[in-house]
Amino acid sequence: MEVLLSDSMTSDPRRIHKSGTWSLDYMALDPRRTHKSGTWSLDYMALDPRGLEVACGAAVRMLLLTCATLLAACSTKEVAVSGNFPAPLLEPLPVTLGVVYEPEFSGHEFYDEAKGRAESTWIVKTGEAQVEMWSQLLDGMFIQTVNVAPVEAPVEAEEPAADAEPPVTPTLVKFDTSFNEELDAILIPRVDELQYAIPAHTNVKVYEIWMRYAFELVRTNGDPIAEWTMTAYGKTPTAFLRSDEAAVNLAAVVALRDAGAHFITSFQKVPEVAQWLEDLESERSTTTAL
């Protein structure tokens, strides 16, 4: 933010009564391509038997106080979500799972620009907390998990000749395939949508975060096994002396914990996943029998 402070003070000839206007030209550069500028002014009148310095000091204090209030009204509120994500308590599934955290997921952030001067612009960064929570959760849920690095999607092959046979399944592998021998499947979680509500929006004394995830479970060669979506919700009530940022962080942590709980209780109920787990088990029994 750039601030220019100017003074248009008129001195009283008797040196006991000063009045005038302090003006503050400001230009606030928003980190997301918007910028705002304008002038705030503060008319003042100070009675000061001791002279100009005290009046100036008092005016500057009032000015700073007013500026702080005005700046707080149209500020950007940024929350980097952090919290406690415990390990799940359950029997791990006998599956070695690769997990791909795409850059959009590991760096996920939600941005909501202020609609008016009374509102604040919100940036909620959930990426780091997402990776922390899901790593902890999947480590406890499966017998072994491996982080698989995402890679750029390969460039599509040239147009096949007219007489050539079309490919059976066009597969775009978007992850490192060097783990293929070790893994049973690869899970790709994505944040499809995030919505938030604060008391200033709803007049309800609750901060809320709602998320929709999209999951893709694929074979190591990239063939799809299942695709499904899942929602998560977290809320926290208003509390004395708790800032908006702290409340939104707490709501996001509750939502992430809810996402973990929902995933654990719903994973095996996805029909395609249930079928795949059944096939995997029978395949292993056959191999053991042989």
Binding site: A46, V54, A58, R61, M62, L65, N84, P86, A87, P88, L89, L90, E91, V204, V206, K235, T236, P237, V254, R257, D258, G260, A261, H262, I264, T265
Partner: protein
Amino acid sequence: MVGRLRKRAKYDNRALVGAGRASFNAAAFTLLLLTSGCVTSTVDEMVFNEPIEGIGDASVVILGRRHASDYETEFDFISCVSKHITARDSSIEIIDEIEFVNTLYPWFEPRTAPLRPNDIDRLMLQKPVAEQIAALKLEYMIWVDGSTVQTNSAGSMTCGVGPGGAGCFGFGTWGNASDYEATIWDFTDKAEVGRLNTSTSGQSYMPAVIVPIPIIAPVQGTACDGMGDQLLEFLSSKH
């Protein structure tokens, strides 16, 4: 004569010190009375199967219900009830709510928490959960559902800040109401063995002549004491 006078002076000093302390205590008590609003509290109790000898070396957990959309039981209320019980009977072991919920994640999250005693069987099908609960020697699980809300507010207050200082003038009043219900589950028998209800309401005031003087009605604190006392009667062999 001098000695007597000295002695008397000594007594007088003592009396003065004593009177000073008494007046300080009286002033503090009066201030406390003045700065505390009035609270009305009602406690209902329904117990089916109270332990006669207390709970012995078993443990208890008190958990808040948080699955409703418009309110959730405050963590500090649960903590207050737990502290109230352990302060009066230190032999009762109460597991910290957050520690319990984290240890048994994700089975006591708002989405997954058991709503009826019969749901415990489903929970115990998870071998690690059953082992953990056995290790904790959990005998009773107490679910507290409710919240404290502001019911009304009136009055106005104006505060100003100037170069010479700051001050407020006006009068404000607001009411609070607490309504909490505790349901006691016997974890061994997987049955509900008691139900308590505490309803509390009170009016707080804040007059302000330069300095605001809050006269707060301890609504939630009274509800905490009421519920804590009733649970203590249930759990403790000493009460």
